[in-house]
Symmetry: C2
Subunit: 307 residues, 2 copies
């Protein structure tokens, strides 16, 4: 979380790892406590804030004001808005986390001059966001932009969302990590290479290290996942014909140009001629600031619309 | 083609089959001649028209004002705007044909009260259109809405566009017809069932007849194609979260509720919980009027924007 001024300067950053094995309300309580702590450390009173923007995992249902479904946490119908509204005396708005990251890129990052942008964020899952005509597009009930749940392989691997062959089930950090882990387990049981991989708490970094080591099975698994990422990008270009596609999230940060080069190659081979040539594809330099800046942009946008 | 009044009443309809084995200019000349003939038959002078809307196959590049790529005709960079602008003394606008059909549904059909609509039109190819915030969304260079070129099966069958595993290569009328034809060729060479199928010039009708006959291989091929159509619809729901998805085109007209029922079943099993429940899925009743009404809506929209 962070405190941001109206020009998009982040004044304070505060990091909190999501505690495991807790109920949603325990997690929210901890987020709330950290928020109060951050204000205290920054010597800022809560009523100095113009508003609060919160990024949610999964789908934030804008009509019912709940998280309708967050597959990776197995949350359904979480009344997050009523929880936080009671706690804070300032205006507060919610949005899906990667929608916010995309909005951050559009407002303060690589997308400042683009009308149509697709954000693709690769972490535990794969999230996304759509900017259409310079506005965040969230769909009829807030569920738009679930790029990770486009089907790439009709009867492919099981996804947490209940579907099969979703991009997330093939090319997310978790999916790649698990595939390499299984391969190492078969090949290197009891050896240092397996333990080193397993014990690295940063999965993106573990994957990047495996790639850099040149271990053939890991390299093949990673290249296959990037190929599928390219295929998903092809479908997005043919469907949305955006000006800009931005990659972010832990895996994109670890691999940078390697991902972009692989995706571009697949796009050049497989996307619609006449359409893909004008699409810019890049990684965002905003890193972990993207969702914070997006939350600030959300507050700014909502306050301006209220004027 | 047709002549439409400002309320969306079609005053005249005129049907012209695209002649095969002709250059694009010969085809345009024939369309132009038919247009003049239609005006004469309707006793309407060309300067009584407020404008002309033309639906193009493939991608109409709105910046360069050409058809950049029409895979099923193998056309690239066709200067259709300069061809027609010279011929007509009234304002003229162009758009992809199924973008127009979707706009027709949005303006005069099932989508009149919906903000976000996806049109899926199944004919020789599979075309589509996106309505976002009540406006036709055509993307950065006019290429958006190519629903038929979303990849459903990563390394699936070759598509005319150069890609593999596109929805169009799996579930278009041509793809299904060819698969049944090959199956019949293996099973029924020299028999009446093969000849009857082959000789029906209306491919959608031939497919529907094969389905109704209960011939097991044909039924399986058709059900598989409809399943893939459902998978494509799942990806679209997860990505766009529209209010309405409308099917049209020859195959949807022939099968009607059979397609809708199959697609809905796949959507219920595989789309994101919390998102798909609010999506209405139906066939359009506009039939072949959809693109004509869409062309009229395009002219209306452009004239209103000019005011």
């Amino acid at each position: 979380m962070g405190i941001v001024d109206p020009d998009g300067q982040i004044l304070t950053r505060y990091m909190l790892l999501t505690p495991g094995n807790k109920t949603w309300m325990e997690i929210m309580d901890q987020i709330h406590a950290s928020f109060i702590d951050m204000l205290k450390q920054s010597d800022i009173a809560i009523n100095e804030l113009k508003g609060i923007g919160i990024g949610c995992p999964g789908t934030f249902d804008s009509k019912r004001e709940t998280i309708s479904f967050a597959p990776n946490l197995n949350w359904k119908n979480i009344p997050i808005k009523s929880y936080f509204t009671q706690k804070f005396p300032v205006p507060i708005w919610f949005e899906n986390d990667t929608n916010l990251s995309t909005l951050g890129v559009a407002t303060f990052g690589e997308g400042r001059n683009s009308d149509s942008i697709i954000g693709i964020f690769i972490g535990t899952g794969i999230g996304g966001g759509l900017i259409i005509d310079k506005k965040l597009y969230t769909g009829n009930t807030g569920g738009a932009g679930e790029i990770g749940h486009m089907v790439i392989i009709e009867n492919g691997p099981q996804c947490q969302c209940g579907n099969r062959g979703c991009l997330e089930a093939i090319a997310s950090t978790s999916a790649i990590h698990q595939k390499i882990y299984r391969s190492y387990l078969r090949q290197y049981e009891g050896s240092g290479i397996l333990n080193k991989f397993k014990e690295n708490p940063n999965k993106s970094d573990a994957i990047k290290t495996a790639f850099s080591s040149g271990e053939p099975a890991a390299v093949a698994i990673i290249n296959e996942a990037f190929y599928s990422l390219g295929i998903g990008t092809v479908s997005l270009i043919n469907l949305v014909n955006p000006e800009l596609i931005v990659f972010g999230g832990g895996l994109a940060e670890s691999f940078g140009d390697i991902i972009i080069k692989s995706v571009k190659q697949t796009v050049e081979q497989r996307a619609m001629p006449g359409t893909y040539e004008n699409v810019r594809i890049t990684c965002t330099a905003l890193g972990e600031d993207a969702p914070i800046l997006g939350a600030a942009a959300l507050v700014k946008m909502k306050l301006e619309n209220d004027d």
